[in-house]
Symmetry: C2
Subunit: 453 residues, 2 copies
């Protein structure tokens, strides 16, 4: 490539190497948690037939179409492909395609990029990474799996180097039952109005409930009272009962939600709260029971960074139905703003823990042996590119954040020395036994969450 | 998703969960090797402006164009984007774009998918994963970095669970100098003919050298003699000298190649041979010195699974030139055929090492505590989905390849037991201390390379 300096493409965030090392450590942590719980990894191809992505025109996501450049002019050349906009549609297809080779209930995680051709705006990207977990069954999926996905994701979220997170749980049956119970004429419209409570004030939502969903003042007020209930234990049940609405589906939803909240109670900590939040509706998604959203303290404008729920039919081949429950973490959506405001940074820009200094070019083979000895014990090591003055070589290490500079023995009988360039301490060391403190083996994540709620 | 069972898309391979676990272990191993040598990770966006991908029409790769579905009909809507077809073009752009924020020489690795709109044929994919390492400098890049990338990739290759690999090294200066020395009228055409030696017989290449490259019989024979030289030490130098051709560039190429081969000699093993192979030309690429290809024993038809070389100008902004040297491993190209012929398989299809059996639904909380205790020591564990007969639960574990089934204590005072379902051995065990043998913690890779050369 040559010519002028290229610029970034709006909506396609890229990370610097130090940031990418943090992202990798975080993804490794997610993988570890998911695998400890028996979730198997899959990746799906980036493309799906466009007609499957649009699902008969019901989808509200902006899709990127993909065509061979040679065929762009020729509209009839081949069936249209598009980049997937989430990991749920391709997962559903993967389950149907491989049903005969999978064991059910099938637990999978999938950490991959997705693409949306949206007008980029703050916090919205055209390309971003998601980390999804789902459990899918053939025919029936027991309710305890709803608790399981909530617990697994809560455990993964609690390990993130970010501020306090709230995993908010609700249940569509509870909402729907309540709306039936108050006699709402158009429950789904009412639900979409309630879903807007994190974006617009309650009185505006009240207005929508009256004008769009056809509710009376009293009905709308009851909805707003319901949506205002938020508890980290099962006390929400009494508060809902206190509103005096009776409906069988409402009872079912209350019972299910109580099981999830109670089943996660031991996970509540300074890092995460799992709570019933009755305003969570996931208005435009096809969930049929449990629904999840997640907020990060100090980043309200981001909206939910981790959402999901239960589908009674994730997929179906006409004969068999595959119900599922899952939750999807927006990795880029979470990390990119933290990189941008400086609240997440790496202690160095390279994996190297040690720079082996090069006294003169004739000693290159000797420095290579030192590096090899260190690497054999898991110490990431690079050798200086050229035999400049030691001061310059130390500054090279400093600029990269490499904590140690190794000075090889100049001749047989003399000693190797290693310098911690942060403290200036320099000591004799043996390349066959020396190890840095554990904390210096990998780049550290420097996390300074910018807010407490 | 609903409807009929979907089928695969030709050229877009997908893996089953067990295969994906192997791919991940292999990628983790590559990352570990690259990081031990100080290579920093980056990822680039999937798309680049089409005009940068085509580089003024010189590229021979089939590009996938990407457009918002809503804009497909409207050709003037926005500058055209395409999916990257390799990781070198985006890396060059990334270096130029971030030059002010990077430290040079900059070592990076990048493991990502790429896309090519080719007609799919055996071993060619439309979507596949590559693992690239490159070292790039500002202005000048010392030659010892050519040795470095060869050594790092050879070390990574030697750790792969595959048969014997040959990392073949040559030098374009050697070839060009030789062609100058024999007085070839069109050296680049001759080089492209030599490049075809792994696909067509030597006499056909001889014909091409005479008819296309305008060589005499004697000149063509000299080329074929040169191309026949292959040594795992520096004895190739004498064999070339013996051909009696003299040229300054040839001398330079011989000296450089000798340094690389000699610098990797200690890495030769039963897993890998690093050798000078004078037929390697990389005919259509823009390398200017060292060139690399890699063959896997028993899979000649795959061609090179790991290729690269030195570019004197990886990128340039008009004022500064960025020379680079790198090598790219075709992860999918290597693994997909091994999965297809069964020579690479996983010992289980899930990460779980233990299935906790469920005696009855009332014991779900107790089984969850056992699972939590095991996970806290890094033992991947799942709990049985339902309280079926133990025989059924054991078969569930067997179908997934989970090696251990845990039977929780039925009441206070009674003992937990764990069964190795491969041997049938069942013993008392404490969930707070029991650990499986190290080898059972993660799925094992079962590698049965199908050929020795």
């Amino acid at each position: 490539m040559s010519g002028q300096r290229p610029g970034p493409l709006s909506g396609f965030p890229e990370l610097l190497p130090g940031q990418r090392m943090i992202e990798q450590q975080i993804i490794d942590g997610l993988r570890r948690t998911f695998e400890l719980h028996g979730f198997a990894p899959i990746e799906t191809r980036a493309v799906e037939p466009v007609e499957q992505l649009t699902g008969g025109g019901e989808v509200d996501k902006e899709i990127y179409a993909v065509r061979r450049l040679a065929d762009v002019e020729d509209r009839d050349s081949e069936p249209g492909l598009g980049l997937h906009f989430d990991l749920t549609v391709p997962f559903a297809r993967y389950v149907l395609e491989n049903a005969g080779k999978l064991e059910f209930p099938f637990r999978r995680y999938q950490i991959q990029r997705v693409w949306r051709g949206e007008r980029p705006q703050s916090g919205r990207f055209r390309e971003f990474t998601q980390a999804d977990i789902d459990i899918v069954a053939q025919g029936e999926l027991a309710f305890h799996h709803d608790v399981e996905v909530a617990r697994v994701m809560a455990e993964a979220l609690a390990a993130l180097p970010v501020g306090h997170l709230r995993l908010q749980v609700n249940n569509r049956k509870l909402l729907q039952g309540f709306l039936f119970g108050i006699g709402a004429p158009e429950p789904s419209v009412a639900m979409q109005a309630i879903d807007r409570l994190d974006k617009v004030p309650a009185d505006v939502v009240g207005g929508l409930l009256r004008t769009h969903a056809g509710l009376s003042d009293k009905q709308a007020d009851a909805c707003l009272e319901l949506a205002d209930i938020r508890t980290a234990d099962t006390s929400f049940v009494d508060r809902v009962r206190h509103l005096g609405i009776h409906d069988e589906l409402l009872d079912e939803g209350l019972a299910e939600l109580a099981v999830v909240v109670d089943g996660c109670r031991d996970l509540n900590s300074a890092r995460i709260t799992v709570e019933a939040d009755l305003r969570i509706a996931r208005g435009l998604d096809y969930y049929t029971g449990t629904v999840f959203e997640t907020r990060m303290s100090g980043y309200d404008a981001l909206g939910s960074i981790c959402s999901g729920g239960r589908y009674d039919s994730l997929a179906s081949d006409g004969r068999t139905t595959y119900p599922g429950v899952g939750i999807s973490l927006g990795v880029s959506r979470l990390l990119v703003p933290l990189f941008a405001d400086g609240s997440l940074a790496a202690s160095r820009s390279v994996p190297s823990s040690v720079l082996v200094a090069l006294p003169d070019e004739g000693m290159r083979a000797a420095t290579a042996l030192v590096a090899q000895a260190l690497r054999s014990r898991g110490v990431a090591t690079e050798v200086a590119a050229s035999a400049e003055k030691f001061g310059k070589q130390i500054r090279y290490a400093q600029r990269r954040g490499i904590p140690y500079v190794w000075f090889p023995a100049a001749e047989a009988g003399s000693q190797h020395e290693v310098k911690d360039i942060r403290s200036g301490d320099q000591t004799a060391a043996d390349p066959d036994t020396w190890l840095p403190p554990e904390i210096d083996l990998k780049p550290q994540i420097i996390s300074t969450p910018n807010a407490v709620e």
